[in-house]
Amino acid sequence: MKRNGSSSRFRQSITTVLYPLFFGILILVLWQTQALHAMLNIDPFVLPLPSRINSIIGESLPKIMTNVWATLIVAVAGLLLGSLFGYLIAIVATVFPKWGAGGLSIVTAFNAIPIVALAPVITNWTKDVSSDANIRSMVAKIIVVLLMCTASMSLNAYRGLTELRPFSQDLLESYAAGKFTIFRKLRLPNSVPYIFTALRVSVPLSVISALVSEYFAEYVIGVGRQIRENIVLGQYPTAWAYITVACLIGIVMYAVLIVCESILLRHRK
């Protein structure tokens, strides 16, 4: 049986890793040979070749890394704080079910505000946080990411905390378990897979929010800001170098999440 299990997992990793990898390589080859440009009728100037993008990343790696760190700190801090905040809201909604549902609707409404509208407001709001523009800009950007990441966590965690296996709550209550015990032994463990479902949405969202919020920040730094500056100046190869780096940030963060998930949830499957 054990052998069988590992072979099916092996087959699964083929489909989840090798197929996309193959697809990615295919796209890269089409891109580099300009078949992609011919197919989509794009100018190689506006969509530079991978080799050119790659050489720029190599050339100006130190500057790129400075911007990557700025973006990564904002994305990760916003993701963690937003998820924590979202989970707390879910707990509050579980404990006080009467107005909990209403609270969750408000969170969802917040999530619907476009970053373009939210970011300038937050930048304005955090003007007195620090006399250092770098710090107050970072705070503003983190708050934007936080607000974006809160909703998916609170909605998913709420489901995890409330949609329990049939009769499990009744069973615990029949043992005279208190509310806190039910929460600790039943609700909390039940919500863990839902946390990861939320994070799968939040991780890419946190990177996107961080990049877009950089447009509106006072302090000029970050991968998103560099993408925009370079596109405006007609520096498409450099802009694409930053776009590539932005993709890598998203992929790495997602990969870290998947690894964490497979470790933490390995006994559940």
Binding site: V17, Y215, I243, C247
Partner: protein, 388 residues
């Protein structure tokens, strides 16, 4: 949340990459560069304390710049608009960093930026004036002029690709001829020009449009030394050279190919005076058969009196007299004017010379055929009360 679980089936790589790509698309469209007028200055509280500042002695430009720079409160919009400010900061030995300024003057109003960038014809008017959208600071603000400081870079021009100019020389000449006629009329009748622009779908109020027309007239008719210019649209060698020199110094490019191209650029790579010379030599605007009669021009920004010459030429029929059917395309959107001209989606464009230089460094092969603004319209504005 069903859709979230189905996501598991996708690979992490493809999913994230797709999301990032969609971000790139949404990113460039989410510029939020609405016109400055949409923000009405709601508070006039600051006008009370500024009235007492009239008695205090004003600081020199150098002192103001140094004070603001050391506090880290110099503002500019960035995105290729920052080079003159950086040159000015460097002139006084200050680091060339600046705060990213939004497209309104709220940061200046609330003192988070004490030395803010402003165009004489746009933001400066909003800061000083009391009409709708203005902040009503009147004479309680001081101004540092890039021309006076010797760091002026030339701004609005007319450009096209070298290839287009070579293939359509008569069209280019006729377009310059009619456009300059429009500018000439607009500068002689700024009030009427402002109204014409306003009727073409202006982005700002008619009061501000009238202010803008008066200020733009000064930029078209005065050079960087403050002398009168009678040849509209000429390309002054010294001012162009200064622009190119400063551009080489302050445009930083990560792409080494583009950076070395920038270093090697000469005036002949970025402008061609022959079309303007032919256009201004003509007395009747007849340049023979036009290679292309339907042409378009993309502005650097939304419709406003900054571009009044083109709207006047259109309204007064100067373009049609020259045999041209001209479509004026508003700027300020997703695709910058340099890229739009390079792509061929428009034939001509209006941009700042520094932006054209950056685009040529990237290999767009653009060439300026006329220089409309003869001096820099960029100033740094500050409240006198903050520097006494």
């Amino acid at each position: 949340m069903k859709h979230m679980t189905t996501m598991k089936r996708f690979s992490c790589a493809v999913l994230s990459a797709a999301m990032m790509l969609s971000l790139a698309a949404c990113g460039s469209s989410s510029t939020g560069e609405s016109s400055t007028t949409s923000n009405t200055a709601s508070e006039s509280s600051s006008s009370t304390d500024t009235s007492s500042s009239t008695a205090t002695t004003t600081l020199s430009a150098e002192d103001v710049i140094k004070t603001a720079a050391e506090e880290g409160k110099v503002g500019n919009w960035g995105l290729g608009n920052e080079y003159e400010v950086q040159a000015l900061l460097a002139k006084y030995g200050e680091p060339t960093t600046f705060l990213s300024q939004a497209f309104d003057m709220d940061g200046f109003d609330d003192d988070s930026i004490t030395l803010a960038s402003a165009m004489t014809y746009n933001e400066l008017g909003l800061v000083k004036n009391s009409y709708d959208g203005g902040y009503d600071y009147g004479d309680t603000v001081g101004v540092i002029d890039m021309n006076d400081e010797g760091v002026a870079m030339l701004e609005d021009n007319i450009f096209c690709t070298q290839a287009f100019a070579e293939a359509n020389p008569n069209t280019v000449k006729a377009f310059i001829y009619a456009s300059l006629k429009g500018w000439e009329y607009a500068c002689a009748n700024p009030e009427e020009a402002a109204e014409i622009v306003y009727n073409y779908g202006s982005s700002v109020s008619s009061d501000h449009q009238a202010y803008m027309a008066d200020e733009v007239k000064k930029l078209v008719e005065t050079d960087t030394n403050g002398d009168a210019v009678t040849d509209y649209g000429k390309m002054d060698e010294d001012a162009m050279q200064q622009t190119l020199d400063l551009a080489k110094q302050y445009i930083t490019l990560d792409d080494s190919t583009a950076a070395s191209k920038l270093e090697s650029l000469t005036l002949d790579d970025i402008r061609d005076t022959s079309y303007w010379e032919a256009a201004t030599a003509s007395t009747d605007g007849d340049f023979g058969t036009l290679e292309k009669t339907d042409v378009s021009i993309q502005l650097k920004w939304l419709p406003q009196a900054q571009f009044m010459g083109y709207y006047v030429a259109l309204e007064k029929g100067y373009y049609s007299d020259a045999g041209l059917n001209v479509n004026i395309v508003a700027g300020g959107g997703d695709i910058s004017e340099t890229t739009a001209v390079y792509n061929g989606s428009v034939d001509f464009g209006v941009t700042w010379v520094s932006n054209l230089i950056a685009a040529d460094a990237a290999g767009m092969g653009l060439t300026e055929v006329s220089q409309i603004f003869q001096r820099s319209g960029l100033v740094l504005v500050y409240k006198l009360a903050n520097f006494s």
